[in-house]
Amino acid sequence: MSVPTADHTLDEILNLAALHFKVPREKLTPDDDFFKTLGIDSLQALDLLTRLEHHFRIELPDYELQGVSDFRTLANRIQARL
């Protein structure tokens, strides 16, 4: 199975976040602060992390998210586990 590209991974994250947190997809951009754009707190961020782990079939320790608040960097973290 081939590994998806980083752009593809980023796109999937944005789609999943928009769907789950009921935010219009066109309002999300890669460099957005996802806490602010999605209006979420840390408990909801963990919820998002769980959904992303299931979607990409990876394990992503939450300390990897330290200092991460934009979708692009999040995508890089996930890409590194694919």
Partner: protein, 267 residues
């Protein structure tokens, strides 16, 4: 008391299973009030167990099973009281919660934790005293205590060591990371994974199954295969109290309590 409706939890018997429902907003943080009501439950349990074949512990709150100890209360008590009195208060709390946990651990009927969402710290420890953990796919587990300069204080380390390999226990405790239900099942912690929102339904089906077996046999089998590590549990209280008295812990608790940002549950 076959049913009870409290401020933090309630119980009732449904189809032969005791259902203990946690419902203290925002996420079943375990403080003094919850402890009081858990003690009521532990006192009622022997009689309840006579008329039931299983116990299911679950949460009715969307956020999750339980976020663990009430850190705000722990911090406030530390600020309001003289250090010696605060430490004595912490030890007393731990001894009381251990007594409850031990009673649940030793219950003479099959116990099932039906978990979802955040299952952290003391909440994770509450799930660990149960014989079987059933988790929905959004459950997330964590022992974050090292982030605060503490160790789990409600019996988590001795029970984790009882159930899992030591390498896994070291990974979870020393990194303080949260992990999902796939990992939890892979390491042998979670017995069944349910769809989102379905953990209680699956737990009820499991309770119905275990209810087919002779109660005395179940009690004897449990007592034989599930030793309670009493000495280690007492030692955990001593280590916790020793760590609690350090300034780093007060600072860690203050950072958590005063965090106005969005990330208190992230490492």
């Amino acid at each position: 008391m076959s049913d009870f409706k409290g401020q933090t939890l309630s119980w009732q018997i449904v189809n032969g299973a005791i259902e203990l429902a946690l419902h203290r907003d925002p996420c079943n943080e375990i403080g003094s009030l919850t402890l009081d009501e858990l003690e009521k439950f532990a006192a009622a349990l022997p009689e309840l167990a006579n008329g039931a074949h299983a116990l299911i512990v679950h949460s009715t709150l969307k956020a999750g099973f339980s976020a663990g100890a009430d850190l705000r209360e722990l911090f406030q008590r530390g600020q309001e009281m003289e250090k010696g009195a605060a430490l004595r208060g912490v030890r007393e709390f731990l001894e009381r919660i251990h007594s409850v946990m031990n009673a649940l651990d030793a219950a003479p009927l099959t116990t099932i934790a039906a978990v979802h969402g955040v299952t952290f710290g003391g909440g994770f420890e509450l799930a660990l005293v149960c014989d079987i953990i059933i988790a929905d796919r959004m459950a997330r587990f964590c022992f974050p205590e090292l982030r605060l300069g503490l160790i789990p204080g409600f019996g988590g380390i001795p029970r984790l060591k009882r159930d899992l390999g030591n390498a896994v226990v070291r990974d979870l405790l020393l990194t303080g990371r949260s992990f999902n239900v796939m990992k939890a099942q892979q390491i042998g912690l979670v017995s069944q994974i349910a769809a989102e929102g379905e953990a209680l339904r699956v737990a009820r089906a499991t309770a119905s199954q275990v209810g087919k077996f002779d109660r005395r046999t179940v009690a004897a089998a449990k007592a034989f295969m599930k030793p309670i590590p009493y000495e280690e549990l007492k030692r955990e209280i001593d280590i916790f109290c020793d760590l609690y008295s350090r300034p780093a812990v007060e600072e860690g608790l203050r950072r958590f309590v005063e965090n106005e940002g969005v990330q208190p549950y992230l490492p």
